[in-house]
Structures are given as structure tokens and as C-alpha cells.
């Protein structure tokens, strides 16, 4: 048999039919559903009198719209009637279509892409879909995890347990070398996106490989795969290895006993064969990476923290120059300003990129015994799930954050996307551990700087960005 990549093996394992137009009908092992837009799919299913074909292979999770305060008051605590309605609708739709649902009052509630790995739902070899562009996060578990649209595509998955897709090309990012201390997974993926550009991987399924990826924890790999879409790829994966198996073993939905042994035998056949070919390959040296800060309005607009805001007049490419000019105007930054002099108004530690226990431990270690700077109006820590929150509280991290002046919130997408009440006001500048710094992403007129949890925590203490490598 010809040598195949991880992606090719899992894709081939799920093909049911190939259409004359070249699209392939793939089997969906598991589908996650959030409240954003999914009501459109359910409304139409209802009109058509259709039901869910395999209800147990779905999990509805409320995360996007859900406020991170007043949970004890239930939906009555949600002041905005539209938000309340969207949250209630997912609950009603899940009940009507008999789909398991982790709603606002559930102990496991959190961000879909944090929950799926931590409950052991995301297992190597699976095909998982979700109506969210950051679905590739789950790819860190050796899963073919694919984002789908919240209207027609979701409706199709619920009714048929399948999805029509065109096979993407394959691409491998090999990251070798040893990461310097204080350089996190977030800095690695931002550095890669800076190099390839936000459209650099469009049309490809990425596999992240190499010694630096192998050395990473599952939490770090989840952060890496999470931002595949910011490089243009809908799919990002890491081959399963001992780190993956140890992470999964004993989790609630992971196989047990004889099933575990059988699963493990199969999972070990999945990693990319030694001589398998990719359509594109790129290599990176982790030793060269530094802590990153975005200064613009696209994730590729980032520089090492000891750098300066770029000067658009020095950029040769016309389109790029105009983009940078516009971005600096929006971000209200002057060329050549050292990034460490940029003062911030708010700090957000959370999102499907950086809200796992490892992220919170790192941030807590930075703020321990210190105080949030006076010029920082609000510093938020939003754990990715109820289980992360519980673990953090067991370790006393919530106390460390609160003592430092942070707010410790209930799990959800929070300030990542400006759909719930956690938003920036116009003109406010935020050090954020989320994944997108588009204009208005965190609220109309808000200015987002993407950073790692350690960098966000240090910025909260100093009131401006600092080089975490030299900060004590």
C-alpha cells in the first residue's frame, strides 16, 4: 500500500460516496453544536418534519452568547432579550431533536472545543464537525475536525450524519528545535501565521509535526491547531502519540478496558507514514521564536515583543502597505513605537485558544502576589469550561487572580467575539489571549492585541506590554 498521511488515512476511512462533481460524502462520527446561527438549521428541519438521525452522536453546547456573570439567576439573569432568546432556543431545539445538551446550568458547560477533548469525546481517527470556524482545535487529538456552516450544512449533518466536502490538499509544518523558555504555543502559531500570511494555508489540511510539537502538552497542541483557520486552513491536526494517549486515558467518554486496547492498536496505525508525500511542506526552527504581540487588525500583523510598530512607508508591496496603514490608523499606533510602550485598558484571558488549565497556571504564576496596574480598567479570566474552573479553584488559582484584581468569571466564549455582554468599548485597547484581532471583533471600535496568557498576565500587571523573557 502506498504511504499515506494522517489526514489521508482518516479522510479515506470516512468516505461513503463520491459525487460526479467531485465532492465526497463523509460520515460524521460526532457533531458539536453551538447556539450561534444553529437555530436556522433547526427551524428548517422542523418545517420539513425531519428529525436527528443519530442523536447520541451530537452534543449541543451553549458558549457563544452566554453571559459570564449572573449564572445563578438562570436565563432571567441575561439582561439582553435577544441573547436570552438565542440561549433558550438551543435548549429548546436540543430537547425537541433529542440531542444531548450542555447548557448554561450544566457543571460541564464551557467552550465546545475545550469540552470535547477534556471529556474524551475527541479521539484519534474520528471525523468531528461543528458550526464554528475554530473546530480544528480538536485536530490536536489526531481528529479530522472540520468547521461547517450553521444553516444548511448543520441541518444536513443532523438529518443524515454525513457531510459533502471537497478534499483539501495536504500541507505539513515541521517545527524542530527547542522553544526558548517563555515562548508558548501561542507564540509559535502566531509566528507561523506571520510567516505564511492569513491566506497561506487556504485550501489545505495542515499537519503540525517535528520535535517542538512532539514536546508539547495536549493543551499546547490544542492552541496550535486552534489557530489553523487564522492561517486559512479549515483543518489542522497533530499525529497521535503517547502524549495523546495519556491525555485521553481515563476520560469520561474515552474507551475503557478491552475497547481501550483495541482502540490503541488502531490509533497507532494512524500517524503519517515515513515516506508519505504532502502537497506542500514548510519547516520552522522553534529556537528562533519569541513572545509575540499583534499590532494590527489581522493575526499575521504581529511582531516579537521587543520589536516596534512597523512603518508602512518601508513596505514595498502596495496592498500590504495600504493594509498596514489602515490597521495602524484603526489601532491608533504610530510607526516605530516600541511594542512595550503600548499601554492597555483591558485584559482578557480566555477563549478556545487559551483557556485551559495550563494557560491559567501560567498566567497565575505571573500575577501571583502582584496587582493589576491602575490604568487597566478590567482584567478578566474566563476558564474554558466548568471542569477547568473547578480544577483551577482546587489549585487556588482563582484566589491568586482575584487577589491581583482580576475578575474570575463563568465559562464561555466571553470577550473573544463580542456576541455576549463581554465587549470592548470603542477606542479601548485590550491584551487578549483570543484568536482574532479584526476591526470590531471584541466590540465596535475596540482594539485587540493578541498575546499568550503569560504575556497578557504581565501586561495586566504593568499596564503595558512587557517582554516576559526579561521581566521579573
Amino acid at each position: 500500500m502506498t504511504a499515506r498521511t494522517l489526514f489521508e488515512k482518516i479522510w479515506a476511512d470516512h468516505v461513503i460516496v463520491v459525487s460526479p462533481q467531485g465532492e465526497e460524502l463523509l460520515y460524521v462520527d460526532f457533531n458539536l453544536i453551538n447556539e450561534g446561527q444553529s437555530f436556522l438549521a433547526f427551524d428548517q428541519l422542523r418545517m420539513e418534519g425531519r428529525s436527528s438521525r443519530r442523536p447520541q452522536q451530537h452534543l449541543a453546547v451553549t458558549d457563544h452568547y452566554l453571559p459570564t456573570i449572573n449564572r445563578d439567576r438562570g436565563t432571567a439573569g441575561m439582561a439582553n432579550p435577544e441573547i436570552r432568546r438565542v440561549v433558550e432556543m438551543l435548549d429548546e431545539n436540543a430537547t425537541e431533536f433529542k440531542l444531548p445538551h450542555i447548557g448554561w446550568g450544566h457543571l460541564d458547560q464551557g467552550i465546545a472545543h475545550v469540552i470535547a477533548p477534556e471529556l474524551g469525546i475527541a479521539q484519534p481517527g474520528m471525523l468531528i464537525t461543528c458550526n464554528d470556524s475554530h473546530t480544528a482545535t480538536n485536530g490536536a487529538c489526531g481528529v479530522l475536525a472540520i468547521p461547517i456552516g450553521g444553516g444548511n450544512q448543520l441541518r444536513h449533518v443532523v438529518a443524515t450524519q454525513t457531510v459533502w466536502l471537497k478534499k483539501p490538499k495536504t500541507m505539513r509544518f515541521t517545527v524542530d528545535g527547542v522553544r526558548p523558555e517563555a515562548v508558548t504555543a501561542k507564540d509559535v502559531i502566531l509566528s507561523i501565521i506571520r510567516e505564511i500570511g492569513v491566506g497561506g494555508a487556504t485550501g489545505y489540511a495542515i499537519e503540525y509535526a517535528g520535535a517542538a510539537i512532539r514536546a508539547m502538552s495536549m493543551e499546547s497542541r490544542l492552541t496550535i491547531c486552534n489557530m489553523s483557520i487564522e492561517g486559512g486552513a479549515r483543518i489542522g491536526m497533530v499525529g497521535p502519540d503517547d502524549t495523546t494517549y495519556q491525555f485521553l486515558n481515563g476520560r469520561r467518554k474515552a474507551p475503557q478496558g478491552a475497547d481501550w486496547d483495541r482502540a490503541l492498536t488502531y490509533w497507532k496505525t494512524l500517524p503519517t507514514d515515513a515516506d508519505a508525500a504532502f502537497d506542500r511542506e514548510l519547516s520552522f526552527d522553534a529556537a528562533r521564536f519569541a513572545p509575540m504581540v499583534t499590532w494590527g487588525t489581522s493575526p499575521e500583523d504581529c511582531s516579537p515583543v521587543d520589536g516596534v510598530v512597523p512603518d508602512p512607508s518601508s513596505i514595498g508591496d502596495g496592498d500590504r502597505r495600504r493594509h498596514v496603514e489602515r490597521a495602524l490608523d484603526y489601532m491608533k499606533l504610530k510607526p516605530a513605537t516600541p511594542l512595550q510602550q503600548v499601554a492597555i485598558d483591558r485584559v482578557f484571558i480566555g477563549s478556545c485558544t487559551n483557556s485551559r488549565i495550563e494557560d491559567l497556571r501560567v498566567a497565575a504564576a505571573v500575577v501571583k502576589g502582584r496587582r493589576v496596574a491602575r490604568n487597566v480598567k478590567l482584567a478578566l479570566v474566563v476558564p474554558g469550561s466548568g471542569l477547568v474552573k473547578e480544577q483551577a479553584e482546587r489549585e487556588g488559582l482563582d484566589r491568586i487572580f482575584r487577589d491581583a484584581g482580576f475578575e474570575w468569571r463563568e465559562p464561555g466564549c466571553s470577550m473573544c467575539l463580542g456576541m455576549n455582554p463581554d465587549r470592548l468599548s470603542a477606542g479601548e485597547r485590550c491584551a487578549s489571549t483570543s484568536n482574532r484581532n479584526f476591526e470590531g471583533r471584541q466590540g465596535p471600535g475596540g482594539r485587540t492585541h493578541l498575546v499568550s496568557p503569560a504575556m497578557a498576565a504581565a501586561a495586566a500587571i504593568e499596564g503595558h506590554f512587557v517582554d516576559i523573557r526579561r521581566w521579573t
Binding site: F39, D43, Q123, N152, H156, W164
Partner: protein
Amino acid sequence: MDKFTVLNGLVAPIDRANVDTDQIIPKQYLASIKRTGFGEGLFAEWRKDASFVLNQSRYKGATILLGRKNFGCGSSREHAPWALMDYGFRSVIAPSFADIFFNNSFKNGFLPVVLSEAEVDRLFHECNAFPGFRLVIDLERQTVASTDGALTMHFDIDPFRKYCLLNGLDEIGLTLRHADKIRAFEARRKAQHPWYF
């Protein structure tokens, strides 16, 4: 999706070119969090005018819309065919359509019929002259005819789209033609990898 075979319906004429999706369903109605109910917003701005076609009693209950060229241009919102259908229309006849609206219509079981400018002119004339003017759209025969059969026009349609409409097959319906293969795949996967289920 409902099958579309023969439609015998009252015709409502909208005598304007370039009717855009912002007029078909103004954006303030998109915020509605139900897919049903968009009919309320159909041509909402124009309906504020008492003399607008849809406010005239002679067109009450119309199921066929008669339009001019480039019908459905503008924003790609899928709400446009939803709103037309929710209001009660099943088909629109015009000399040309905007691409996205045209595609969205088929996906939702709504038939856009292309006739020549001269034929459409003729229909506008008939419609204005005779209150209660009806047309019969026969998809199988690809004809638009007056109820007495005196006037018959032929239209073209992509064979695959025709097949889907005649059989009421949307994307889900098409996939479910492979239901046996899906079931067989599932049974095989469950036997090989039971822990995924």
C-alpha cells in the same frame, strides 16, 4: 422540500427592474431569530405604499410573481426566497435573475422561470388588463400557459434542477438516495471501531 409539479396560480406583477434582496426582505427583518415569519418583512418598505401591488385586493392570494430583469440582485441573503415562500409565492417569472438568488431559490424549492423580455411584456399586459389573471406553470412540460390554454410559452431549465424540484429533493433528499450506503457504512464502522459509537 415540497415537490413542484404543476402550479395554477394568481399572478402579481412587480413592474420594476433590478428588484434587489434588500427590498425583498429589508435587513431589519433579518435579525428575526426564526426562519419562518419572514413573509411579514417581504417588500416591507414598498408595502408602506397603499397602492403597492401586494396591497391591492385583486392580487390577494397570488402564488406567482411576475418581475423584470435582474430580479433578486444585491446581498446574498438566503432570506429572500424564504420571505417570498413564507408569503405564499412558489414561483417568479422574469427575463433574468441574479445568480445567487437564482441558486438559493432552487435550493429552497422555489422556481425561478426565465422567459424572453417580449414574453414577459406580454404577461404584464395580460395581467394588468384582466383582474384575476392566472397562469399554469407545468414544470414537467416546461411551459407557462394561460388557464384557457390560448397562451403557451416554453422555458428552459437545467435537467438536474428540474429533477430535484419535481421530486422535492433538496440536498438532504439527494443524500438520502444513498441511505442504504450510509447505513451499510455505519454498520461496518460500528463493527470495526465500536468505541466511537
